[in-house]
Symmetry: C2
């Protein structure tokens, strides 16, 4: 399981029933919440994403349409008596704001929040299965994208065959690393007999809010799925540049340059009611594009 669910796809002002930015990356063991605009907890209820499953939250930057829903979500988790630790990644001022809000309500959360200040590029989180890197994007204020990549062992075990050779499961991790097995009688079982090459590690790049910037392509080179904002249609490229946002064809150009498999576009401006043209324009430059529609789930691999 490696899938992105879209909870909000609109820019700045909520409009036409569209909500501000929030997405969930769901993997076998973990749910990662990426940005958290106002109403995210309501969208989670609507799309059956359980609040209790979220252990990592990433906030790309301090524009409200990317974090105004966070304090409500954190408070609700506490009202629901959460005890599990939560890891929060964002600009340091975010911690100050949350602290002030909790203090004003005389509230102590029922669980521990580990706040990880987001101020440079590199690996910011790692679970047993996923590594998360932050990368800078160019926006009006400091802003980061996030690259999620599976951590894979080089080999996959054929459990049936490993059992036939009576290899103890305690040795499986070494098999995954490519080691041969030696039986008690000294017989060598070659690794290839009981394993096969592992599947490619899956990857997702969330590029947050950004002006068109070709240097971004290098940072997300070859990912399976990229989310790149497309706030405006191509005719409004001047406005896009002025506001440090991108157009449909700019998002598609980055996907093409980065040689990714699939492109998701979102963060649509509130000036557009109908989104068909967004898809059409982007697909002219990069065919495997989809709209980040709310409630849609995109599986990788």
């Amino acid at each position: 399981m490696f899938a992105i669910t879209i909870l909000g796809n609109n820019s700045a002002i909520p409009a036409f029933g569209r909500n501000p930015t929030a997405q969930v990356l769901q993997t076998q063991d973990d749910f990662f919440l990426i940005d958290c605009g106002e109403g995210t907890q309501l969208q989670m209820s609507k799309y059956k994403i359980r609040r209790s499953k979220i252990n990592h939250i990433f906030i790309s930057h301090m524009h409200g349409d990317h974090y105004f829903g966070l304090i409500g979500l954190l408070t609700s988790m506490s009202l629901l008596s959460r005890t599990q630790d939560l890891h929060l990644y964002g600009p340091s001022v975010l911690a100050d704001i949350l602290e002030l809000q909790l203090k004003a309500a005389k509230t102590t959360l029922s669980y521990r929040v580990h706040f990880h200040k987001l101020d440079k590029e590199g690996v910011i989180a790692e679970t047993s299965k996923i590594r998360v890197e932050s990368f800078r994007v160019k926006h009006r204020i400091d802003c980061f994208g996030f690259l999620f990549r599976e951590i894979r062992n080089p080999r996959s075990i054929n459990v049936e065959r490993a059992k036939a050779y009576e290899i103890p499961s305690a040795y499986y991790e070494q098999l995954q690393q490519g080691k041969d097995y030696v039986t008690k009688k000294g017989t060598i079982i070659p690794n290839e007999e009981v394993t096969s090459p592992a599947q490619k590690a899956r990857s997702y790049a969330y590029c947050a809010d950004t002006i068109y910037d070709e240097s971004l392509a290098e940072k997300v080179k070859g990912v399976d799925l990229i989310y790149h904002e497309a706030t405006y249609l191509k005719e409004h490229h001047k406005r896009a540049a002025e506001r440090f946002h991108s157009t449909t064809i700019q998002a598609a150009a980055i996907a093409r340059l980065a040689d990714v498999n699939k492109l998701l576009i979102g963060h649509f401006s509130s000036k557009y009611e109908v989104l068909d043209e967004f898809l059409k324009e982007a697909q002219e430059v990069f065919e495997n594009t989809e709209l980040a529609l709310e409630g849609a789930c995109f599986r990788i691999g």
Copy 2:
């Protein structure tokens, strides 16, 4: 026009499609927003309350379900290029939080916010038609209720008759105060000839979040409409008291003691999916009770 529209009626955690607290009092000239839980701006869109109409916002206390939607609303007003001044009433720490949030986004609002610190009882706002008083209620943290009362001149003009006597409209305000009119020829037109006693000033009391407190009844004595929270059914009175909230029959008892015309109950706990029992229990103590259902509009007079 003197009407309350309910935008949210749930306590703490949004549940069963119910939103946190927010209400709008609509009068002939003004819209007053009372509390502003997360998602209020979305609820305003849903129920056709135009953001631009709101010039006064009252925040009762610093629990998140009463103000987490405020920063999103203020930001959206700015993105929509509002220029009209806005008056905001709330605990002083609210101003600190908003300031920090705006600073983090490097945002300057397109309009001026007059922040009025809420720290004592008394008149806090007055338009040409409405006077607003704050009053303390008993909750876990500092909390205020708001009493809205029409400002009425003692007399209403019968415009047709005033015209028949050729009284200039510049004199109408004095007619409303009960003065007679003297014509150029010196004839006295008695006030009663062209006016009648004005209708009673209409009033609405919003009692915010409160434990059962009989002294509250004095503060809202005789209002037309009272909103009193009923977070719990009567069987959960212990929990209500522990959390500084009220039950159905406690809300109804206050309405009765205060001798009001009608009672609205809301702020329902997320533990209840169905609300029928709330109405039934309250009506056993105070018959003219209604549930503060989202989208419902209650007109007075």
